[in-house]
Symmetry: C2
Subunit: 267 residues, 2 copies
């Protein structure tokens, strides 16, 4: 199940997210053995390998060779540590910023965003455990917002943000699904297909054909022949295409395709 985050103090977490150097590096006092980046990197490494729950304060500290309580010098709480880990990984997609090279059409730009996001959730499945409703307001998250919006210059401003949020929500949901899948596969040592196979008794022993005629009909027609992972992939590709088609259609000023989103590169 998913951890959420408790309330965090914006006055503490924002400077951390942006790696604010408190005036000068502080010339007095005992010098630190670690940095915030060290702690975040250790947390990510453990979470990547064994899941977010394994990235406990004790485990992270052990990996860094310090006592558990030492971490609290660098990070206010475990929740804040997770938030830092998330923003770090979000930024790790290296989505093109202003001036950077990028694909020519807005569609390919969105597909780049989608691909990198899915890859990110595959590489860091623990991301799926973190809600993104109130995301970390750090450079990684803002870079995503900027990139997605920058691909939608041809959408009228009144509708542009709705389009961006629609795309972001859909892609994030699909990636989260994929990440949950990867995590379950690793933790249980069992693929999704194997999991379903192990539950074959459902159909013979518990499934009621009378109550589920549409499923039965589709089953007999071979509609479930593709495994659950393929189904999810199909649905993602299909849904994204429908959404992009719709946005494109709604952005055409009249009915022709001489202007508007259709294959318009970034200005």
């Amino acid at each position: 199940m998913t951890e959420f985050s408790g309330t965090t103090d914006p006055d503490r977490i924002l400077p951390l997210l942006w790696r604010h150097r408190t005036a000068r590096p502080a010339t007095t006092g005992r010098p630190p053995r670690l940095s915030v980046d060290d702690v975040v990197a250790a947390g990510i490494a453990i979470a990547d390998a064994e899941g977010l729950a394994a990235a406990s304060m004790a485990r992270v500290a052990a990996r860094l060779g310090v006592a558990t309580m030492t971490l609290y010098t660098y990070v206010p709480s475990r929740n804040d540590l997770v938030e830092l880990m998330v923003d770090d990984v979000l930024g790790g997609r290296l989505l093109p910023g202003p001036g950077d090279e990028r694909p020519g059409t807005w569609r390919d730009q969105i597909l780049l965003y989608a691909d990198r996001t899915i890859a990110m959730y595959r590489a860091h499945p623990w991301l799926s455990h973190v809600s993104r409703v109130r995301p970390p307001l750090g450079p990684g998250m803002l870079r995503e917002s900027e990139y997605v919006l920058s691909t939608l210059g041809a959408v009228p401003v009144e509708r542009r943000n709705t389009a961006a949020v629609t795309i972001t929500m859909f892609v994030t949901a699909a990636a989260r699904h994929e990440g949950e899948n990867a995590q379950l596969r690793r933790d249980g040592g069992q693929s999704n297909d194997a999991w379903w196979g192990q539950r074959g008794q459902l159909w013979e022993q518990w499934f009621d054909v009378e109550q589920h005629p549409s499923m039965t009909q589709l089953w007999n027609a071979g509609g479930f022949d593709r495994g659950p992972d393929q189904q999810a992939a199909d649905a993602f590709a299909h849904g994204l295409r429908l959404i992009l088609d719709g946005i494109e259609r709604e952005s055409e000023p009249q009915s022709s395709d001489t202007t508007g989103l259709r294959s318009s590169p970034m200005p």
Copy 2:
């Protein structure tokens, strides 16, 4: 953050999900003080009021007036308890089954599904903490699958399941978002808008205008005037409409709207 579930034994959880009465109610031995339904109901009540984490074995047992370990007579583990809670709540939507009355058009049938699902996540925000990649294979979950598929009779069988999964994934993601929102609002005693307001310093102190031209431009054009909750609602309505439009369009045999999905009621 989100809890996931560990591996569960299908031979134990499936009979529980379907509330298998082990042959006869067992006439010998000490009679039980509770039922599985009691335990599940208590878990749901606590989770509804205080979140999934609060629904610990100790808290559930206390609410039922028994010792903690007593629960393990009814339920193999806390993970299994959560799975039972989920299937119970999924079934609680009471989506129309075969023969039950339902809206006339497939679109309205899908909207019924979407509305009830969102309402479910609002009423039981803890659902957002549970992955639905390997869902509980109980009556509640199957009822959902049957209903969604039953609305798509006009989609060609080869594409029907993809359409169903696309819709389900999108609606579930939106509902999960809404549930996370409700949970954060309750736990932090703070609305989403208030949360953003509290972080106003982001824009003055940390935000880099040079690096985020598209955001800045849209901000100045009033593109962010609607708060985050309204944006999410807009995106959900918009995305669902685009997906349903696309499915409808792809299901029209030719180009006219005399047959196909367009306003075709269930057979």
